[in-house]
């Protein structure tokens, strides 16, 4: 398959990428390309210009400081999955990165690309939301709760570039995914985290956009055990339904995967 024609440009810095975006507002940022290039080949996306930000050194880092793990937007899934610092600070996050797609995809795909794309079945949005991460851009900082606004949509403005995701380190956390056996995307993935006196549960794959389950969070804040969420059901209304699983099935999986995630974290 061949994409529509486009012009390729490589940015060496965030400032340069910003200037290129301003000059050509219809262009798209290219990072790992594991979603964008596939969409362009299917001719679902037709940007006249691609601005490659994958080689920008200032966006490729993992830093642990002040109770948070800060990851540069152009950091690959492979780098996060194999980082000793991430494994020590938030092992659930390293595990999540290690089961995104397959090894070849993990070498190329980046955290900034995944978060900015906000695929309904992507893994990272669940960790960003459950850990209450902050998304930093070339213009501002956005709280996870304000960032994911709907299917493939986010609070990002035109010409805004994700530069870093900063994850507060939780006391305990785990991610459990019921993966589609062909694509490895989440049919349902649940990220559960406990921090001082509170708990957060975020679900990906089940609905058009990642979401939290307040009832589970309230129960877990009092008692962080799998039993606490075992009888909490989410409704099938608004859940995704396709050849891989009905809305009812996905709703059922939310409770199952939440139990497994909490059991592993606790």
């Amino acid at each position: 398959m061949i994409t529509y024609p486009f012009t390729y440009r490589r940015a060496k810095s965030v400032a340069e990428a910003e200037a290129m975006l301003k000059a050509a507002p219809e262009s798209k940022l290219l990072s790992g390309g594991q979603t964008l290039i596939a969409a362009m080949k299917m001719r679902l996306a037709n940007p006249p210009e691609l601005i490659d930000i994958s080689g920008i050194k200032e966006l490729d880092y993992i830093r642990v400081a002040n109770g948070a793990v800060a990851i540069g937007a152009a950091t690959t899934h492979w780098a996060v999955a194999t980082s000793a610092d991430v494994a020590k600070a938030i092992p659930a996050l390293a595990h999540l990165a290690s089961i995104i797609g397959d090894p070849a995809v993990r070498y190329k795909g980046t955290i900034g690309g995944s978060v900015a794309n906000n695929d309904p079945a992507a893994d990272y949005p669940s960790a960003v939301l459950a850990l209450g991460a902050t998304i930093k851009t070339n213009k501002r900082s956005i709280a996870a709760d304000d960032f994911f606004t709907g299917m493939f949509s986010t609070a990002l403005d035109e010409n805004e570039i994700v530069t870093e995701i900063s994850f507060p380190i939780p006391e305990k956390a785990a991610y459990k995914k019921f993966a589609n056996p062909a694509s490895r995307y989440a049919m349902v993935g649940v990220f559960a985290a406990r921090t001082k006196g509170s708990a957060r549960v975020a679900v990906t794959g089940a609905a058009p956009c990642v979401f939290r389950v307040p009832e589970m969070e309230a129960a877990l804040a009092k008692n962080f055990t799998a039993d606490a969420v075992a009888n909490i059901k989410v409704g099938a209304d608004g859940m995704n339904s396709d050849i891989h699983g009905s809305a009812q099935y996905r709703a059922h999986l939310v409770t199952v995967m939440a139990k497994r995630a909490v059991a592993e974290a606790a």
Partner: protein
């Protein structure tokens, strides 16, 4: 059009190509290296896996311009001085292929995983093979071949040391 320069199987190459040229087409059509296959063309099957700076990636999901300055290795670049790579030998000895269409990608993925993980158990090999699809074998002999190859490579590293 952009002039792209990279090293393919240790030979420098510079070609003027359309920006939208996928790396797999660059290799197959511009360089006539047809060992790298196009299977699903949707980055799921892994028949197009090549190494970019030592890492196994899917050449159908990357533009040639992105490989500017990179060291690219394809299946044609594995054998040295007329001698098969140990992973190629192990695929032959273990009957790790039937039709052979997925084999170049399987071998390139296997070389990368052995480099990272050394000798592996069968479950690890299967997890590492999640991005490579074979429609003939049921994977049993492919896993055996990679297991065997990982031991051979570890053995020859020991001998050398």
């Amino acid at each position: 059009m952009t002039v792209v320069s990279m090293t393919v199987n240790e030979k420098p190459v510079s070609l003027d190509v359309e920006d939208r040229t996928l790396l797999v087409y660059f290799l197959r059509e511009n360089m006539r290296l047809t060992g790298t296959h196009i299977g699903c063309d949707t980055s799921q099957c892994g028949a197009c896996v090549v190494h970019i700076d030592g890492k196994a990636v899917k050449s159908c999901t990357m533009f040639a311009v992105q490989a500017q300055g990179a060291q690219v290795t394809t299946i044609e670049g594995l054998a040295k001085d007329g001698k098969l790579h140990p992973v190629q030998e192990a695929f032959r000895d273990n009957h790790g292929l039937q039709c052979g269409f997925c084999t170049p990608g399987m071998i390139m993925t296997a070389v990368d995983m052995i480099r990272r993980k050394g000798v592996m158990d069968r479950a690890t090999i299967r997890h590492e093979l999640e991005g490579n699809i074979c429609r003939c074998t049921g994977y049993v002999n492919i896993v055996s071949a990679i297991e065997d190859a990982s031991k051979r490579i570890a053995g020859s590293a020991e001998k050398a040391a």
